[in-house]
C-alpha cells in the first residue's frame, strides 16, 4: 500500500506557445498543432521527471481553459455568457448558448491521443462538469430548445466525453467542479449547489460502479492568476454536499485553507467508505515552493483525520486552468509537484506503509 498522489491537471504553457496562440488569435488553429505537441511532450517529460506516478498532459492543448475547451468554437454560442469574478479583480466570461442543439465541439479524449504517444506512466484526464456547462443556457428560454432538452443533451455529451476518455485508457477522469463553491456564493441557500450536485449525480449515474472508481471530482475556490473566485465560501457549506457526489475520488483543495484541521474534520465526517479523498498539499497560487518536509507534514496532518487507505495527495488546483495564465512558471509548477511527490513518499515512510 502506498499514499496515492495525483496532479489536478493544468501546467503553465510554455511562453512560446502562449505567444503563438496570442498571435494566432485562436488556440484551436491547426497551425499550432506542432507547438501544442511539443509543449505536451515537454510537459509529459518534465512531469515524469518529477517522479509522479500519475501525470497529465498539463492541459497544454485545452483552449481556452478548463471550462470552455469542449464548446469553444460552437457556432450556436456567443461569448457573452455569465461572468466569473475573481478576488484579484478580474473576471472570466463563459459562453452562452444561443440556439439548439447543445453539442460538444470537442471531447477531451483527443488530448489523450496525443499524450499517450509520450507518456510512460498512467495518464489522468480532466473534463469539465456538466453543472459548469449548464450555465451556458441563458436565463431566457431558447426558442424551440427547452431547457430540459438542453440538460439531456448536456448529460449525454458529458457522458460521451467521460466514456471516451475511460475507453482510451485514462487512469482517472477528473470532473472539474470549481463552480460548486461558487454556487454557494451565488446562492447561499444552497439550492443552486444542490442542483449542481443533482446534475452531476445524474451524469455519474450513467456510469457503472467500476467506472466511477476511475472518475473523480475536483473542487477548489477556483484559481486563476494566483487568485480565486470563491475562497471566501466556507468549506463547511460545500463539503457535505460535495461528498454526496456518487464518485470514487474527490480532489479537495486544502493547502490554501486557513484552517486545514477544520476542513479535515469535515472531510472525515463526510467521507464515505467507498470514496477516496485526495487533499491538496501544495498551493499553486502561492509562489512559495513547498519543501517535501512541509508536504510530509501536511500529509501526516491529514492522516490524523483520514484513514490512510482513503487518503491521497494532490495539488490544490491546476497550475494554469486558463491557457494564458503566466502567473506561475512551469519550473515552479514542476518543483511544487516534485515536492508533493517526495513529501507524500516521506509521509508514507513515516507512517510505515511504504
Amino acid at each position: 500500500m502506498n499514499i496515492s498522489t495525483e496532479p489536478i491537471g493544468s501546467i503553465p504553457r510554455p511562453l512560446s506557445l502562449i505567444e503563438a496562440v496570442n498571435a494566432c488569435g485562436d488556440g484551436t488553429d491547426p497551425s499550432l498543432d506542432g507547438l501544442y505537441e511539443e509543449a505536451t511532450r515537454d510537459t509529459i517529460e518534465q512531469f515524469e521527471a518529477t517522479g509522479s506516478p500519475v501525470i497529465t498532459d498539463g492541459e497544454q492543448r485545452k483552449y481556452h481553459n478548463f471550462w470552455t475547451y469542449s464548446v469553444h468554437g460552437l457556432k450556436n454560442t456567443s461569448p457573452d455568457g455569465f461572468k466569473i469574478p475573481f478576488a484579484a479583480g478580474h473576471t472570466r466570461r463563459m459562453l452562452r448558448l444561443t440556439a439548439e442543439p447543445f453539442r460538444y465541439k470537442r471531447y477531451a479524449d483527443q488530448y489523450l491521443d496525443l499524450a499517450l504517444r509520450y507518456a510512460h506512466v498512467p495518464l489522468k484526464q480532466a473534463v469539465i462538469s456538466p453543472s459548469a456547462l449548464s450555465l451556458m443556457y441563458p436565463p431566457e428560454r431558447i426558442s424551440g430548445y427547452p431547457r430540459e432538452q438542453f440538460i439531456d443533451d448536456l448529460l449525454r455529451e458529458h457522458e460521451t466525453e467521460v466514456r471516451r476518455c475511460l475507453q482510451k485508457g485514462a487512469h482517472k477522469v477528473q470532473i472539474d467542479f470549481t463552480e460548486g463553491r461558487f454556487a454557494l456564493k451565488v446562492d447561499p441557500s444552497g439550492n443552486l449547489l444542490s442542483t449542481f450536485i443533482d446534475l452531476n449525480n445524474l451524469a455519474l449515474s450513467r456510469f457503472s460502479a467500476a467506472d466511477r472508481e476511475r472518475i473523480g471530482v475536483h473542487t477548489c475556490p477556483g484559481g486563476d492568476r494566483d487568485s480565486t473566485h470563491s475562497a471566501d465560501v466556507d468549506y463547511a457549506e460545500l463539503l457535505p454536499s460535495l461528498f454526496q457526489l456518487n464518485v470514487g475520488n474527490l480532489y479537495v483543495a486544502l493547502a490554501g485553507e486557513k484552517d486545514r484541521s477544520s476542513v479535515l474534520k469535515m472531510i472525515k465526517r463526510c467521507l464515505r467508505p467507498d470514496q477516496k479523498v485526495f487533499v491538496g498539499v501544495v498551493a499553486p497560487i502561492n509562489p512559495h515552493i513547498e519543501t517535501p518536509e512541509e508536504v510530509r507534514d501536511r500529509v501526516l496532518e491529514a492522516a490524523e483525520y483520514i484513514p490512510v487507505e482513503q487518503l491521497g495527495t494532490t495539488d490544490d488546483c491546476g497550475f494554469s486552468p486558463f491557457c494564458d495564465d503566466t502567473s506561475t512558471t512551469r519550473e515552479t509548477a514542476f518543483a511544487k509537484i516534485r515536492a508533493r511527490v517526495v513529501g507524500t513518499a516521506l509521509a508514507a515512510e513515516t507512517l510505515g506503509i511504504r
Binding site: 455569465f82 461572468k83 469574478p85 473576471t91 449548464s134 450555465l135 443556457y137 441563458p138 436565463p139 427547452p146 431547457r147 430540459e148 438542453f150 440538460i151 439531456d152 448529460l155 454556487a183 451565488v186 446562492d187 439550492n191 443552486l192 444542490s194 442542483t195 449542481f196 443533482d198 446534475l199 449525480n201 445524474l202 449515474s205
Partner: protein, 823 residues
C-alpha cells in the same frame, strides 16, 4: 445594483431555472432508473437463470468448456475443464488462455498454438490438430480433441471464444488395445498350433493359417481354390454338411466334430474340427471360421487303447476272478482302517459276509490283545511301507481266534498317492498247530537224542569202566596163575594165589551178577522171590554184607529200628542187596571214622528205610541222576572207589520192582547224603511191576533184526541200540548182502537203507516180497528222503514202514516190541 450584481443575479436565476429542469431530468432519470433497475433485475434474474441453466448444462456435459473474452483471457471453466486443466474457474478467470490451456503434439511434445487465437482472428470455428495433448497444471499429459468457436454478441460482433474439448485417453487406449488385439489375433492366427481357416458360405477357403496348410500339405494359395468338401474324406461329408446347415440356421452356436481330411499326398488326417459362423455387423457378411486340430495320433492311440482296454478288461476280470478264487482273504481298506472290499475267502475265513463288514473298521477282526497292531500298520502304510508275512492273531465272527499271516501293501492312485491298503490274510492256524506239534516233536526228538547221546556216552564210559574193572581182577588172577605155574612157587604162595584168584573171581562174579541183574531188570526178566520178611532180619543181612567196608573205615555205624517187628512181603535177598548196596556206598563215600546210620520207620502203608552218612555228599543236580545207569556222578564216585557205577541204578530197579521208590537227599557236596527207600507194607504177594528206567522201555519181545546200510557206522550204531534192547541184530552193508542174509538169518524185521550201492532198498524189498520169506517179514525203509512221494514209493516197493533218518529210536523200539509189528 451594479452590473456584477446583475450579472450574478442573472446567473443565479438561470441556475435556478436550470434547477427545475435538472429536477425534472432527475425525476425522469430516476423513473428511467427505476424502470431500468426493474428491467435490469428482471433481466438479471433471467440472465441468472440462463447462467444457472448454462452452468448446469456446461457442468453436465461430458466435455470441457473454456470461454475467453476478446483478448483470449479466460472468463469461464466448466467443472470438466477444471478437472482436466487442474485450474479452478476462479483461478483461471482473467488468465491468458495459453497459461491454462497448454497443448503439445502428442508425439513430438512440441507446443501447439491454441485455436482460440485463430477463432478470434477469423471468427470461424477451428478444430485442434490431430494428436494433441493437454498438459494440466500438475504436468499431467492428457490426449484431447477439441474445437473452438467465436462467441458473438447480439450485434454479431466477436465478444470472445468458446473452446470445447474432451479427454480421448480412453479412446486412445481402446484404439491401442484394438491395434494390439488385432496384432495378437493375427499372430495367433498365423502361429496357432491348430489349423485355422476362414471360408465363405459355400465352404470355399478364403484364408488359412500356416498350420492348416502344413496339416494338409497345401500352400495357402492352393487352399483358396479348394472347399472343405474337396479336402474331406469321401465318407465324412454328410456329417460336416449337417453341422454347416445347423450353424447357418442358428440352431447351434458352434459345431464340434471329428472328421478325416485328405492330405495332398493322399494320406488321411484325423482332425477335431470346430466350426463357428461369424457375421460382420457392419457388412452383414457371414463367414465360417474353423479350427482343425490334428488328432491322427490320438485316434491311433484310441484304437490301440480300445484294444488294450479290452485286454485290460479281460485281465481285470481275470484278476477279479483270481481275487475271488483265492484261498487267502484279500481285503482292501482305507487309510483310516475302514474295510472297502472283501473277497469270498475272507468270508470263509472270518465268517463275515461282504455286506456285513464292508464299511466297518478293520478292528472288528482284531482281538483286544492285538489292537495296538493296527495303528502301527496304518502308520507304515502311510509311509508307503509294505508289511510282509506278519504273523498275528485275528478273530472270526464267532469270536474264534485264528492265526494269520498278513501281507499288507499300500494302494496308490494314478498320482502315486497312497489311498488305501490291500491286505492278504492267510489262515495259518493249522500250520501253526502243525508247527507247534513239530516243535514239540523236535523237542522230544532233541531230548531223545540228547538222552541217547548221554546214554551213549554213559555206555561208553560204562564199557570203559567195565573193561577197567574186569581188567583189574584179571591182573592179580593172572599173576596168581603165573605163581601157580611157577615151578618155584611155594604152597603158601600157591594158597595165597588161590585166595587171590577166588577173591578176584568172586569180585568179578559180583560185577557180572550186577550186570546181569541190571540187564534182567532192564529187560524185565528179573523175578523177585516174594515172601513175608522181617525188616530186622533184612537189615541184619545187609549189615553183615556191608560190615567189612564199614569196619575197614572204622565208621560209627548205628541201626535205628522200631522195637515193633515190621513184616511185609518182599524178596529178602534182593531187599538185603538194596540195603547192603546203600550201606556199602555210604561207607565207601564217607571219610574214615565217619558216621553212618540206618533208620527204618513205618508210616501208613509204607516203610521208610534211610541210610544216612556224613560223607562227600551230592550236588543238587545229581540227586536224581545218581540213580541213572552210566551217570557221571555215579561213575565218578565209583571210579574213585572202584565199581561200575551201576549199583544205585540196580538198587533203584530192585526197589521199583518191589513197588517202592528211592530218593537221594544231600545238603550239598561235603555235607553227607541220605538215601531213603520207601516200600509198600504189603502183606500179600503183588504182581511184578515193570521197573521204569529212563531212556528205555523193557521190550516185550526179542526180534531177529536185519539191518542193511552201506553206512557202516549208521548200521552198527543202530544195531547196538537194538541189541541193547534185547534184539538179535544182523548188519550188512549192501543190497546183495541183504538178500543173502534174508535166507541165512530169516529176520523178522529188516531195516533197509534205500540208497545202497548195487541193489537199493526198494529193489531188495521188491525181491524179498517176491520170495517165500517175504510175506511175514516186516520191512522198514530207513532213508533220508521223507516226502510223501518217497513214502508212497516205499509202500509201493513193499515196505511196511518208512522211517526218515535219523531214526526215531523210541518209535522203532516200540514198534519192535509191539506184538502187531507188521501193522
Amino acid at each position: 445594483m451594479d452590473s456584477d450584481d446583475q450579472e450574478e443575479e442573472r446567473l443565479g436565476a438561470a441556475a435556478l431555472k436550470n434547477a427545475e429542469s435538472i429536477r425534472i431530468a432527475r425525476l425522469r432519470a430516476e423513473r428511467e432508473l427505476l424502470s431500468a433497475k426493474e428491467a435490469l433485475e428482471q433481466k438479471t434474474e433471467e440472465l441468472q437463470q440462463q447462467r444457472e441453466w448454462f452452468e448446469v448444462t456446461l457442468a453436465s456435459i461430458g466435455d470441457a468448456v473454456i470461454t475467453t473474452d476478446i483478448n483470449a483471457k479466460i472468463t469461464y471453466l466448466n467443472p470438466v475443464a477444471e478437472s482436466m486443466t487442474g485450474w479452478s474457474s476462479t483461478q483461471a478467470t482473467g488468465e491468458p488462455l495459453e497459461r491454462v490451456f497448454r497443448i503439445v503434439n502428442e508425439y513430438t511434445q512440441q507446443t501447439l498454438e491454441n485455436p482460440v487465437g485463430k477463432v478470434l482472428q477469423t471468427g470461424k470455428v477451428v478444430g485442434l490438430a490431430n494428436h494433441t495433448s493437454l498438459i494440466d497444471k500438475s504436468g499431467r499429459v492428457i490426449p484431447i480433441e477439441d474445437s473452438a468457436a467465436p462467441i458473438r454478441d447480439t450485434n454479431g460482433k466477436i465478444a470472445g471464444a468458446v473452446m470445447v474439448f474432451h479427454d480421448v485417453s480412453d479412446r486412445r487406449r481402446a484404439e491401442e488395445a484394438l491395434r494390439a488385439s488385432q496384432v495378437r489375433l493375427r499372430a495367433t492366427f498365423d502361429q496357432a498350433a491348430v489349423g485355422i481357416v476362414v471360408a465363405d458360405l459355400n465352404s470355399q477357403f478364403l484364408e488359412a493359417n500356416s498350420r492348416f496348410c502344413e496339416l494338409l500339405g497345401y500352400s495357402s494359395d492352393e487352399l483358396r481354390g479348394l472347399t472343405f468338401r474337396e479336402v474331406t474324406h469321401p465318407d465324412d461329408p454328410p456329417n460336416a454338411q449337417t453341422h454347416s446347415q445347423a450353424l447357418l440356421t442358428g440352431q447351434i452356436p458352434h459345431a464340434a466334430f471329428e472328421k478325416r481330411y485328405i492330405h495332398k499326398d493322399g494320406s488321411t488326417i484325423w482332425g477335431r474340427t470346430t466350426l463357428t459362423l461369424l457375421s460382420d455387423p457392419s457388412t452383414q457378411v457371414q463367414r465360417f471360421v474353423g479350427t482343425i486340430e490334428d488328432i491322427t495320433d490320438r485316434k491311433r492311440t484310441e484304437q490301440a487303447l480300445d484294444v488294450a482296454s479290452a485286454q485290460a478288461h479281460k485281465v481285470q476280470s481275470n484278476l477279479a476272478a483270481i481275487v475271488e478264487s483265492s484261498d487267502d482273504a484279500i481285503i482292501s481298506k482305507t487309510l483310516d482302517g475302514v474295510i472297502s472290499t472283501w473277497n469270498q475267502a475272507a468270508e470263509r475265513i472270518f465268517g463275515y459276509s461282504a455286506e456285513e463288514v464292508v464299511g466297518k473298521p478293520i478292528t472288528v477282526l482284531i482281538p483286544p490283545t492285538h489292537l495296538d497292531e493296527e495303528p502301527v500298520i496304518l502308520q507304515k502304510l502311510r509311509r508307503g511301507e509294505r508289511i510282509d508275512h506278519y504273523e498275528t492273531v485275528r478273530k472270526t465272527k464267532d469270536g474264534i481266534l485264528i492265526n494269520v499271516s498278513l501281507t499288507v501293501s499300500p494302494i496308490k492312485d494314478a498320482n502315486g498317492s497312497i489311498v488305501g491298503a490291500s491286505k492278504i490274510a492267510r489262515d495259518i492256524t493249522q500250520r501253526k498247530r502243525a508247527e507247534d506239534v513239530l516243535r514239540q516233536e523236535i523237542a522230544i526228538r532233541e531230548r531223545a537224542e540228547a538222552a541217547l547221546r548221554e546214554a551213549d556216552r554213559r555206555k561208553d564210559e560204562f564199557l570203559a569202566t567195565l573193561a577197567h574193572e574186569l581188567r583189574n581182577p584179571l591182573a592179580p588172577i593172572r599173576q596168581a596163575a603165573l605163581i601157580f605155574k611157577a615151578p618155584t612157587a611155594t604152597e603158601a604162595q600157591k594158597r595165597w594165589g588161590s585166595d587171590v584168584i577166588i577173591r578176584q573171581v568172586q569180585h568179578m562174579s559180583l560185577l557180572l551178577e550186577d550186570l546181569l541183574d541190571i540187564s534182567r531188570i532192564t529187560r524185565g526178566t528179573l523175578q523177585l522171590r516174594i515172601e513175608m520178611v522181617d525188616l530186622a532180619e533184612i537189615v541184619q543181612a545187609a549189615v553183615e554184607a556191608a560190615r567189612p567196608m564199614i569196619d575197614a573205615k572204622r565208621h560209627d555205624f548205628r541201626v535205628e529200628l522200631s522195637s515193633e517187628p515190621v513184616r511185609f512181603v518182599a524178596d529178602p535177598l534182593r531187599l538185603a542187596q538194596v540195603l547192603s548196596n546203600l550201606l556199602t556206598n555210604a561207607a565207601k563215600y564217607t571219610d574214615p571214622e565217619g558216621e553212618l546210620r540206618l533208620r527204618a520207620s513205618c508210616s501208613g502203608e509204607m516203610v521208610s528205610i534211610s541210610v544216612v552218612d556224613n560223607g562227600i555228599g551230592l550236588p543238587a543236580d545229581a540227586l536224581t541222576s545218581v540213580f541213572e545207569m552210566f551217570s557221571q556222578v555215579a561213575s565218578s564216585r565209583d571210579h574213585s572207589e572202584g565199581g561200575l557205577g551201576i549199583g544205585l541204578s540196580l538198587t533203584k530197579g530192585l526197589v521199583e520192582l518191589h513197588g517202592g521208590e528211592i530218593e537221594a537227599r544231600s545238603a550239598g557236596v561235603g555235607h553227607g547224603s541220605e538215601f531213603i527207600v520207601r516200600l509198600p507194607l504189603r502183606k500179600a504177594s503183588v504182581p511184578r511191576q515193570k521197573p521204569v528206567i529212563e531212556s528205555n522201555s523193557a521190550p516185550s519181545v526179542s526180534r531177529r533184526v536185519l539191518i542193511a546200510d552201506d553206512n557202516r557206522d549208521a548200521g552198527e550204531s543202530l544195531a547196538a541200540l537194538l541189541r541193547m534192547d534185547g534184539h538179535e541184530v544182523t548188519v550188512v552193508h549192501n543190497g546183495q548182502e541183504a538178500l543173502s542174509a534174508f535166507s541165512a538169518v530169516q529176520p523178522e524185521v529188516a531195516l533197509l537203507d534205500i540208497g545202497m550201492p548195487g541193489l537199493n532198498g526198494y529193489e531188495v524189498a521188491r525181491r524179498v516180497r517176491q520170495g517165500s520169506l517175504g510175506r511175514a517179514v516186516t520191512l522198514i525203509a530207513v532213508t533220508g528222503w521223507g516226502q510223501d512221494r518217497d513214502k508212497a514209493q516205499s509202500l509201493a516197493a513193499g515196505f511196511n514202514h518208512h522211517f526218515t533218518k535219523p531214526v526215531e529210536t523210541d518209535r522203532l523200539l516200540e514198534m519192535l516190541r509191539s506184538e502187531e509189528l507188521c501193522n
